[in-house]
Amino acid sequence: MARISSQIKSACTLVLSVATSVSTGLASTRYFANPQGNWQPPATIAAIFLLLQILLTFIDSAEDKELAECREERKKREQQRQELEDLKHQKAVEIAKKDVEYHKNITAKAVEAIKAGNTTELDSLEQLRKKIDG
């Protein structure tokens, strides 16, 4: 959606830019106003196109600012999420450190059991999945 909107905006800018150039060119071949002080039509059209172009540029820059703010906000949230993840890892490491001996023993027993081909005290991933899914 944003991409289509951006393409439409680019097309409008291009059309307005060409229209402004053409009508300014046409206006410059005559006087901008006649001796009575009335503006010639091409000059009026050029002025309208120029105003439209300025308006479009203004809208465009406002949208760019909004997009930049959104990006900044997303970046900030991602950073906070990453910090929380790091903190959780840090906590998990702290807790695991308290029971290093226990984890070492379990590992040693498991290695022996695997080597001996007797894994009754261990669950494979498949067995675990079956347990959870009932």
Binding site: K104, L122, L125, I132
Partner: protein, 93 residues
């Protein structure tokens, strides 16, 4: 290549005490760990090949034995949910 992954029975029973959504999230993480044990984990102690991975608020403690191409899950830890968030809020931006 995927490693063989084993879960200690006591740890397996411990996992069953967690809510079902967390159990499923853990199993998904274990599937990832079996193919990439060091990808999303943190080392506890280099000498013991001990690592932790975190999913939601559960810490998974496991040993990665590259020579045996095995991952052995030795336990699960319930991380303090509120404390983690509070510490993050208190930490300078």
């Amino acid at each position: 290549m995927a490693n063989q992954l084993f879960v200690d029975k006591a740890a397996s029973t411990q996992l069953e005490s967690f809510p079902i959504s967390e159990q499923r999230a853990v199993v998904e993480t274990l599937e990832r760990l079996s193919s990439d044990p060091l990808g999303n984990s943190t080392e506890v102690s280099q000498a013991d090949d001990l690592h932790v991975a975190v999913v939601d608020n559960i810490g998974i403690v496991f040993s990665y034995l590259p020579d045996e191409e095995s991952v052995i899950v030795t336990g699960f830890e319930e991380l303090p949910r509120a404390a983690a968030a509070q510490e993050l809020e208190a930490s300078p931006a």
